[in-house]
């Protein structure tokens, strides 16, 4: 079991990672809006928090290194240094080193580079004009913290009366009040008196709470805000007042401290936030615990389905009543547990600003990243696996898609190119888009290269989409030379593999000269969905409820009226339908009256013809396993209450598949050639019999 110290360190790491993400975003914004004081303050506070908390939790090297950057941004804040691209790049580079220092000891990351740290600090000092001091000069020493910011402030020294009373939970988050005092002492001359008035009798004393309060007088040239910054990460967990003391500096520090002690606390005029009712609105929970929780809910849903089945068979009103109640509660529990795992994609999108910034610099291109739909939520498991594919898509766009400056100028394009990231919901899926306004994909070059590599025959009839899909083949690249960024033909293969593993699909659209758009269609969740259970012969299927619209009957007379065509007339609108019996090669006689489940897809409305509709069900998605991974029309399987396996259909893919087969003049999938298109990629057998699963 981890010790408290380890837990605090881990908590600090988690918080610091978030702060680093925010710092990166703020720096990149600052790069565009150099005069934005709020952004400067945001960067300063972030650095200050990392430094202060880092020191407190034993990350002395990290704290010392960060201190120098904090000093630089303090200079910016005070108008003595201007923001410029060099400072931004240096700070971004420094964030990488801080990140590495942070992960040291946590495993899995490359350690910080001392030479790079020293170089960054030397450059920062050159920019700020502040001389190196002591062992902190190399970024690895511990004495950098001892540097007194007041020395750099240069203003008049004045006295401040400070009262600091830790709240009940201040120490529980790992904060040490004594270390805060030590940091305060770095700002100037400090006179301190500890008050023990609130310490209760030993028996009543909570050993994990700090009852001591401090009255201090600080003589310093720094501002009230700079003093408050010392307490920046505990100010919601303490009583803090900072008041200017009248009278000339340097006179009677001890008297002023004593006077401050004698003053009634109600006159302190400071913040008193800790004694408000507990209004904490969020908790930090390890992802593994959440995954375990959702797994258990999944098991509960399966057991509940068995209970419902049992209740239906027993015909016992009491059991039926209990079963219905459990079903209702399970449904609520499932919905709540799924909501807990839903996260906005914003953080994932935002972190690519840095990638675009760095790549643009390295490639000598002007590129801006625009983001749309950052608040779109999807399952944490899906989000966790999205970073790599998006990174490869962006790198590919930046390197191959976006033209060099001179080419863009010659084509009359805006000098600054755009990479656009977008997210939006579509039924039970989420669509993630990566588009650019570059030169587009040269379909002919892709085809030639594919022929050259033996991926397709020279005379193979390929649609444009099928041609574009070739770029996702392993080792495929049309790049004439391999660069640091791309060209080895690995990245797009990674994209395909990752999207496959998420049961997603990739669509590529491109126009020569105007750009490329790649859309990833991913399931909202990988765990449990609301489904509609349908039956065909002895087989069961689940359609995601989010896609289904309504159910209508299909009689023999209807079929005759359509002259055998697979279309139905729904209140005057012609809707094409797909017979699941035929699509899955289920060889049982069809009933006199069948049911058409109407579903909404990106390509419009489609009907799925089934024998019977059995009702809605909560569906715990189980992977089909490696062997059936490439059966794209099926997104998984689920175990019904009676122990039977039902396949979960992907209506979108099913509709696309039917269109493709129809185009090829096939009513069944038997013998369909393995398509180079992503949609049908790797498809082994169209007529996968349900009984085989």
């Amino acid at each position: 079991m981890a010790s408290n110290a380890d837990q605090f360190k881990q908590s600090f790491r988690e918080e610091a990672r978030e702060i680093l993400v925010d710092l990166e975003a703020a720096l990149l914004e600052l790069n565009e809006n150099a005069g934005d004081g709020e952004l400067v303050g945001r960067v300063f506070r972030g650095l200050h928090t990392i430094k202060g908390s880092g020191s407190m939790f034993g990350f002395e090297e990290l704290a010392a290194f960060t201190h120098n950057l904090e000093t630089a941004f303090d200079e910016v804040r005070n108008g003595r240094l201007e923001i410029n691209p060099e400072l931004i790049d240096l700070t971004l580079g420094a964030l990488d080193q801080i990140r590495a220092m942070l992960e040291e000891g946590a495993g899995g990351a490359a350690p910080a580079d001392p030479a790079a740290c020293a170089e960054i600090l030397a450059k920062v000092r050159r920019l700020t004009g502040i001389a190196a001091g002591g062992a902190g000069a190399d970024g690895g020493g511990k004495t950098a913290l001892a540097a007194k910011p007041c020395a750099a402030s240069g203003g008049a020294v004045r006295e401040w009366s400070i009262r600091f009373a830790p709240g009940p939970d201040l120490m529980l988050n790992g904060t040490s009040p004594l270390l805060l005092l030590r940091e305060l002492r770095q700002l100037g001359g400090l006179s301190v008196k500890a008050s023990m008035a609130a310490v209760p009798p030993l028996a009543e004393l909570d050993p994990e709470r700090c009852y001591v309060a401090w009255e201090m007088v600080l003589a310093t040239a720094v501002s009230r805000d700079a003093i408050r910054d010392v307490f920046i990460f505990v100010e919601d967990h303490c009583e803090l007042s900072i008041e200017a003391v009248a009278g000339p500096a340097g006179e009677g520090l001890a008297d002023a401290a004593a006077k401050a002690l004698d003053e009634p606390r109600s006159q302190s005029g400071g913040r008193r936030t800790y004694d408000k009712p507990d209004t904490a609105t969020s908790l930090r929970v390890p992802a593994a615990k959440l995954d375990q929780f959702v797994d258990l809910v999944g098991e509960l849903v399966t057991v509940q389905a068995r209970l419902s089945e049992l209740a239906a068979r027993r015909d016992d009103p009491e059991i039926a009543e209990v079963s219905e109640e459990i079903e209702r509660l399970t449904s609520s529990l499932r919905e709540n547990s799924m909501n807990i795992r839903m996260l906005p994609i914003r953080a994932t999108f935002e972190k690519f600003r840095r990638l675009v910034h760095d790549l643009a610099r390295d490639l000598g291109k002007d590129v801006e990243l625009t983001i749309e739909g950052a608040d779109t939520e999807l399952d944490k498991t899906v989000i966790d696996q999205l970073s790599d594919p998006l990174m490869h898509l962006i790198r590919n766009s930046m390197d191959h898609g976006i033209e060099p400056r001179d080419v863009r100028a010659a084509r009359g394009k805006r000098p600054t190119a755009t990479i656009h990231l977008s997210a939006r919901h579509s039924g039970a899926s989420v669509l993630i888009g990566v588009s650019d306004d570059g030169g587009g994909i040269d379909a002919e070059a892709v085809r030639s290269r594919a022929v050259e590599k033996g991926l397709v025959d020279e005379d193979a009839p390929l649609t444009e989409a099928e041609t574009f899909a070739l770029i996702f083949q392993p080792g495929f690249s049309t790049a004439k030379q391999v660069t640091d960024v791309s060209g080895r033909g690995v990245g797009m293969d990674v994209v395909r593999q990752r999207v496959d593993s998420l049961r997603g699909t990739i669509d590529v659209a491109s126009n020569r000269g105007t750009g490329t758009s790649v859309t990833l269609r991913l399931p909202l969740t990988l765990a449990i969905i609301d489904g509609l259970l349908v039956g065909v012969g002895d087989a069961y299927f689940v359609l995601p409820l989010a896609n289904t619209l309504e159910c209508i009957e299909l009689t023999t007379a209807d079929i005759e009226r359509a002259n055998g065509k697979h279309v139905a007339n729904v209140r005057g609108v012609v809707v094409p339908y797909i017979r699941l019996r035929e699509h899955f090669d289920i060889r049982t006689p069809r009933p006199e009256i069948e049911q058409i489940m109407l579903v909404e897809t990106e390509g419009g409305r489609y009907g799925f013809v089934v024998d019977r509709v059995l009702g809605d069900c909560q569906t715990v998605i189980k992977n089909l396993g490696r062997f059936y991974r490439h059966v794209q029309v099926v997104s998984g399987a689920t175990i019904l209450g009676n122990g039977t396996v039902a396949l979960i259909l992907d209506p979108e893919r099913l509709a696309q598949d039917a269109v493709r087969l129809g185009r090829q003049g096939l009513q069944r999938g038997h013998g369909a050639a393995s398509s180079a298109g992503v949609a049908g990629r790797g498809r082994k057998r169209e007529g996968t019999g349900v009984s085989a699963v």
């Binding site: 310490v199 004393l205 050993p207 401090w214």
Partner: protein, 103 residues
């Protein structure tokens, strides 16, 4: 072991060998309560790499107050090490059990 209780015939000595902070404050409290409950004089010994954070300081302070009100002897076993004395002064604790921290 960071905190120990040595129960002699006439003295109960709480020995602090390492850092005492929030992670070991509950243990310190239990030993101080036990030492005070023994009816013997209490000593607190700061040895080796002992370092006290605010939770430890307030516990020892509260224990001393309780001992005094109950007429039980309570003192540090020896002078406060210079390092700890300086840290206590820096943190505004100008008085510590049985030893005035020299300014």
């Amino acid at each position: 072991m960071g905190i120990n209780l040595d129960e002699g015939e006439a003295l109960s000595t709480v020995i602090l060998c390492e850092t005492v902070d929030i992670s070991s404050a509950a243990e310190l409290k239990a030993l101080l309560v036990k030492a005070l409950g023994s009816g013997k004089e209490v000593r607190v010994s700061l040895e080796g790499e002992a370092y006290l954070d605010a939770t430890a300081i307030q516990l020892i302070w509260a224990a001393e107050r309780e001992a005094r009100s109950g007429g039980v002897g309570f003192a540090l076993a020896g002078p406060v090490p210079e390092r700890i004395s300086a840290a206590l002064l820096d943190a505004g604790f100008d008085r510590f059990p049985a030893a005035e921290c020299a300014r």
